[in-house]
Symmetry: C2
Subunit: 340 residues, 2 copies
């Protein structure tokens, strides 16, 4: 018996690594000292920080992967993964340094792995992040057929003094919402239940209410806010960043409220994209549950001082970025009130 | 419809996070600036390095997880994961800084997650590594029932000048083998095929040839070599470290051979533990394939200069560590020759 008789093909893995190596090299900054395939990836730290703080995060794409499987399009989820991680560390003002991915499949298919990593590589390039390593796990008998899982790990860096201090948040501060690009990567188990189990739709179907094909709409790439917001790091305009992911508005905005503050959000201040209304109606979901699960068209919420409103708005206009003043910080005990 | 109707229970996740937070805090060094549950984990870098190089690695445990599922024992695989990652970055002389885990399950069970993270926490404490974050993904419909997957991500640090330079490896250097603790985390798809599909054994079965129960033997924890070898970092005795993982002796030792060197390994120099012989016989596996797949009782291979042999041996004896002089570096073109 050979190892490949057990469903594991070391040779296929070696071929896949060749493709990955090529895609990863395209992302390397001059700090990367090793090629893909070493035991450990070496990344030399630059000297520009006085008190360097490393910021790390790990994420998956959740069951959005199922849509990739259904559409047999594998080059988007890796991009989602990077952007999700980048946004997470951006919430403390960090710039990305490097990224690693973990890909697990029931059977290693070189082409599919290459597609996945192409997405990761694209995301890394977009965010000035080096893809320094990863792991491919071939796990026969674990995943259901055609299924796979990916996880991403990011490390960024921030000057200690530049980390936003949520204790500076105070009543009267303004909540600014920035547009998401569709569902991003949350709530997909519920989405699948509504669209595929209840409505029996397919990914090829065109839905007039959302003016899009289901597959295309669901695979829209999780947007990164790095290139938009990172240039502001020296200005200290942004007091808090809430990346609207799992747990929706309630859990994520609460994280950036100090003990003596609450916030009130007016949902009438922005237009919720049609996909969310479609899901709410078809799934018969209560509005509050929607805001606990989905981003509702707002992928990042920022808290700024009212005195900086004009400067910040001018900056966003200059960048041709749509934005919404979605609410206010008020006195309270860390509650997120949403007015529908 | 609510999110939990789709098989996702945000509340269960929040409860699990409480347990994780407690276990993670036990591992925190003074460099950790955030608690578990932040968007990004903050780790302040100490100033003791002149030219700091970050070393990162990601790994899974592969289908060793299946054994955890069969025995319903979930507190060992996390420990495996940490030790595997620690050994990977130790190969460039790095000390661990922090660790993140990714856990994906079809249905989130608080107790199981706590057990998994207990193993991770134990491994982190053993290796002076802070468990700073992680992600739990509840992925209904993805994994087969009772299955789950975990991935780990480590970041360590090394002084640039202390990174072993494989170009110093030369003919006449000695290969020292250090004992593994059983199978570690590789070759489990083949192991499962032989023991469970072919021989129809169960994890409860006692096998006289290996003097152990199957479940216990297979779940032995991947050994970390950090506490043994890290004290030698200033001495520069170790010219190269090969962590014997996927790809066995051939692929892993080749990685630390410079272009003008090969090595010859004499398998008669150590006693291969009975589990490997049992697998070879029962699986009718060629000996070469065994050394390409398993660690064969040697979890770490080190290359040292012949002139340092005595000093190194004395150090290992002082630490009560068994070791084997398993081979020699010779002139050649990066081939690993194994004499059976």
């Amino acid at each position: 018996m050979k190892y490949r008789d057990a469903g594991v093909n070391v040779k296929a893995a070696q071929n896949a690594v060749k493709n990955i190596r090529r895609l990863a090299r395209e992302t390397f900054s001059s700090s990367v000292l090793t090629d893909i395939g070493s035991f450990g990836a070496l990344f030399e730290l630059q000297k520009k920080y006085n008190e360097p703080v490393l910021v790390s995060s790990t994420d998956g794409v959740g069951t959005k992967l199922e849509i990739a499987t259904m559409t047999e399009r594998f080059d988007t989820t890796g991009h989602d993964l990077v952007n999700h991680c980048v946004n997470d560390i951006l919430t403390v003002g960090a710039e990305p340094l490097f990224f690693l991915d973990y890909i697990a499949t029931p059977k290693l298919k070189e082409k599919m792995i290459e597609e996945i990593v192409r997405g990761v590589s694209k995301g890394c390039k977009e965010n000035n992040c080096s893809l320094v390593g990863g792991e491919m796990a071939e796990m026969p008998d674990f995943y259901k057929e055609k299924h796979y899982d990916i996880a991403g790990f990011i490390v960024g860096i921030v000057e200690k003094k530049k980390i936003p201090d949520i204790n500076k948040v105070k009543p009267g501060d303004i909540l600014i919402g920035l547009k998401s690009n569709g569902l991003h990567t949350n709530g997909f188990s519920l989405v699948r239940k509504i669209l595929f189990k209840k409505l029996k739709l397919t990914v090829e179907e065109y839905v007039p209410e959302i003016k899009n094909y289901i597959g295309e709409e669901l695979l829209r790439i999780h947007r990164s806010y790095f290139s938009l917001l990172f240039p502001l790091r020296e200005s200290e305009i942004i007091k808090g960043y809430a990346h609207i992911t799992g747990g929706g508005f309630y859990d994520n905005i609460q994280r950036i409220l100090p003990h003596n503050c609450s916030c009130v959000i007016e949902t009438s201040t922005w237009e919720v994209p049609p996909i969310f209304d479609f899901l709410r109606k078809q799934g018969n979901i209560q509005t509050e549950e929607m805001y606990r699960t989905f981003n509702m068209g707002i992928g990042m919420v920022l808290i700024i001082d009212a005195s900086n409103k004009e400067e910040f708005e001018n900056y966003l206009k200059e960048k041709e970025e749509d934005f919404y003043k979605i609410g206010l910080v008020v006195e309270g005990e860390r509650t997120v009130e949403i007015k529908f």
